[in-house]
């Protein structure tokens, strides 16, 4: 019997689900291997009988906590899909601002209708088995994690920084171009897509297991970032980590 999978979202742009839906070339093969029972972005049916849940988005409302716990109860395996679910992601930038102001800015005159709590990753609420990191996720990595689960293997993410992929791709170092980069401490696996296309690494995949953050901070300072600039760089995706510590 094909394993049943479901895809859910919380506070997010739904871009990671879109990456899932956009598998295109592989989608038929995926459907040959699994049965999708619940995936709002691509189907109307809503099944509650699933073994693997892919969950996108951060938790930013009380009501989301209950919903996530229910998903956790049902799913044998829960996979965080993308930076918001995995790290809290860009949502956590609001944690550094006045919560009431943020609420009014976003919901305007209807602010009263919506409760809001400091943003957090799924793992702050329920145990998360695996993650497909990134903003957005990498389709190939999604497939690798899925295949591992189907084969009964433990999915593994690279525990080396983006620099490794950058050097293999022979990219010009972002620092040599006069920019700063979180690549030296950020978990690889994205095929260094941002530096390859002329941007810096923003750290959307989270840090490697044991980053040398002190030395990296000195590198950032040497290349002109102020302390506030360094904090801002890290708070784009790693904000929750800082609060949690």
């Amino acid at each position: 019997m094909k394993p049943k999978i479901a895809v859910f979202e919380f506070s997010s742009c739904e871009g990671c689900q879109l990456m899932f839906a956009n598998l295109e070339a592989e989608i038929l093969e995926v459907l040959g291997a699994v049965e999708i029972v619940n995936f709002r972005e691509i189907m109307t049916e809503k099944g509650d009988d699933y073994q693997i849940a892919f969950v996108e988005g951060a938790i930013t409302q009380e009501s989301e906590i209950e919903r996530l716990k229910k998903i956790r109860e049902q799913a044998k395996v829960l996979v965080a899909l993308g930076a918001c679910a995995h790290l809290g992601g860009v949502n956590c930038m609001k944690n550094y601002q006045d919560q009431e102001e943020v609420r009014r800015y976003v919901y305007k005159e209807r602010a009263e209708w919506f409760d809001t709590i400091p943003a957090r990753p799924l793992s702050a609420v329920v145990p998360v088995d695996y993650a497909v990191p990134g903003c957005p996720i990498d389709k190939k990595e999604l497939l690798e994690v899925t295949k591992s689960l189907l084969l009964g293997k433990k999915p593994s993410l690279p525990d080396y920084p983006v620099c490794v992929e950058c050097k293999m791709a022979e990219n010009i170092c972002v620092f040599d171009k006069g920019m700063t980069c979180l690549g030296p401490v950020t978990r690889a696996g994205c095929a260094t897509i941002c530096p390859t296309f002329g941007n810096k690494c923003e750290g959307c995949r989270g840090l490697v297991d044991n980053p040398n953050v002190n030395s990296h901070k000195q590198v950032l300072q040497e290349h002109g970032l102020s302390v506030q600039g360094i904090l801002n760089s890290f708070r784009m995706f790693e904000g929750y980590l800082e609060v949690a510590k």
């Binding site: 592989e26 093969e29 995926v30 040959g32 291997a33 497939l143 690798e144 295949k147 189907l150 084969l151 525990d159 080396y160 920084p161 620099c163 490794v164 050097k167 293999m168 022979e170 010009i172 170092c173 620092f175 040599d176 690549g183 030296p184 401490v185 490697v208 297991d209 044991n210 040398n212 002190n214 030395s215 990296h216 000195q218 590198v219």
Partner: protein, 342 residues
């Protein structure tokens, strides 16, 4: 082996001629820096440029390479995959030629590695002499790799309007013979070659404050030095030094199964001893958990272990690791400090 002469203006026709039978690889510009790449038109080749980001080893030992294909249920025998094509690396520098010798040893002495050796066998190396140091980071002269006597099929040295070409192998000689436009070197050409070599040698400075033959001993004496801790605090463990190194040959082997879950491939990918997971084994034990231990290991490999194994240093002094290091770990400084701490 005979000495030949080629007019500089004949180099482009030579490349065009070689492109008919070989994939020609050489140094090209990429966003203002140099990389080895496939030459699509002769004008792209930059024989005067050096200091490439990574070394030409990728043509013998690619970043990622399929080793075999297999059936998950074992219903058919795994099939070994060995890919190679006729290729000329045109413009390899003396340091990289020396590094290729090291890789040849590594991939043939202990285990004959078919994937490497097949690519190597089908490739010809045309070396080009350096005129001046790449920058302040290269120290080939101190490592004894500014001049190479072997390891090339042909070796070009620019002299006025000509290249004086040393032939290193019968294959190299045949390549020129079949092209037909190289002339025999005359007495004057030999005089000119020696003059060019002398001038070149003067432009390169010794970077090490000691005779490099003493390096293994300095390393041995410094095994417990605080220097490794200091470097370990700086090191980002990003692996860049290994990945750009022309003599690093460590790789990881991984399996990838297709979406049909019934077949897959085993591949290898460049690895780095500076990465945290490199010396981690199945029990979870990590033999070089501390960054300082990993940094030390790299310097011991380059300055001692490979010398003991193969008779030559693992470092060819190309300076790539220093150029790639965001925290300025520079082997010239490290080696000189070892001497100071004697």
């Amino acid at each position: 082996m005979p000495l030949k002469v080629i007019e500089k203006r004949d180099v482009e026709p030579l490349i065009r001629h070689l492109m008919e039978r070989f994939q020609v690889v050489g140094i090209k510009k990429k966003d203002g820096k140099n990389t080895y790449g496939v030459i699509e038109s002769p004008a792209e080749l930059r024989l005067d440029s050096c200091a490439t980001i990574t070394s030409p080893k990728k043509y013998f030992f690619p970043q990622r390479e399929t080793l075999l294909q297999f059936a998950v249920d074992g219903s058919w025998e795994p099939q070994a995959v060995v890919e190679a094509q006729p290729r000329i690396i045109f413009g390899m520098r003396p340091c990289d030629i020396a590094a290729t010798w090291m890789l040849d040893m590594a991939f043939s002495e202990v285990n004959a590695d078919a994937n490497y050796l097949e690519k190597r066998k089908r490739a010809l190396i045309i070396g080009v002499d350096c005129k001046e140091p790449c920058d302040e980071y290269c120290f080939c002269k101190s490592m004894g790799t500014l001049e190479v006597e072997t390891g090339y099929d042909l070796f070009f040295t620019a002299a006025d309007d000509t290249y004086i070409v040393r032939t290193g192998t019968p294959e190299g000689e045949a390549l020129l013979g079949e092209w037909g436009k190289a002339r025999e070197a005359l007495y004057e050409d030999r005089v000119k070659l020696r003059a060019v070599q002398r001038e070149k040698d003067e432009r390169f400075k010794e970077a090490l404050e000691f005779d490099v033959e003493e390096l293994p001993r300095f390393l041995e004496d410094s095994y417990r030095s605080l220097l490794w801790d200091v470097l370990g605090e700086k090191c980002l463990s990003c692996g860049s030094c290994n990945l750009v190194c022309p003599t690093c040959y460590c790789f990881n082997v991984l399996d990838e199964v297709k979406l049909n879950l019934s077949e897959g491939e085993r591949y290898r990918v460049w690895d780095s001893c500076q990465l945290e997971g490199f010396a981690k084994v199945a029990t979870g034990e990590n033999f070089r958990e501390r960054r300082g231990d990993r940094v030390r290991h790299r310097f011991f490999r380059k300055g001692k272990y490979m010398k003991e194994m193969f008779g030559r240093f693992g470092c060819v002094g190309c300076g790539r690791c220093t150029r790639a290091c965001l925290v300025h770990i520079n082997p010239i400084e490290v080696y000189n400090q070892l001497k100071g701490g004697e």
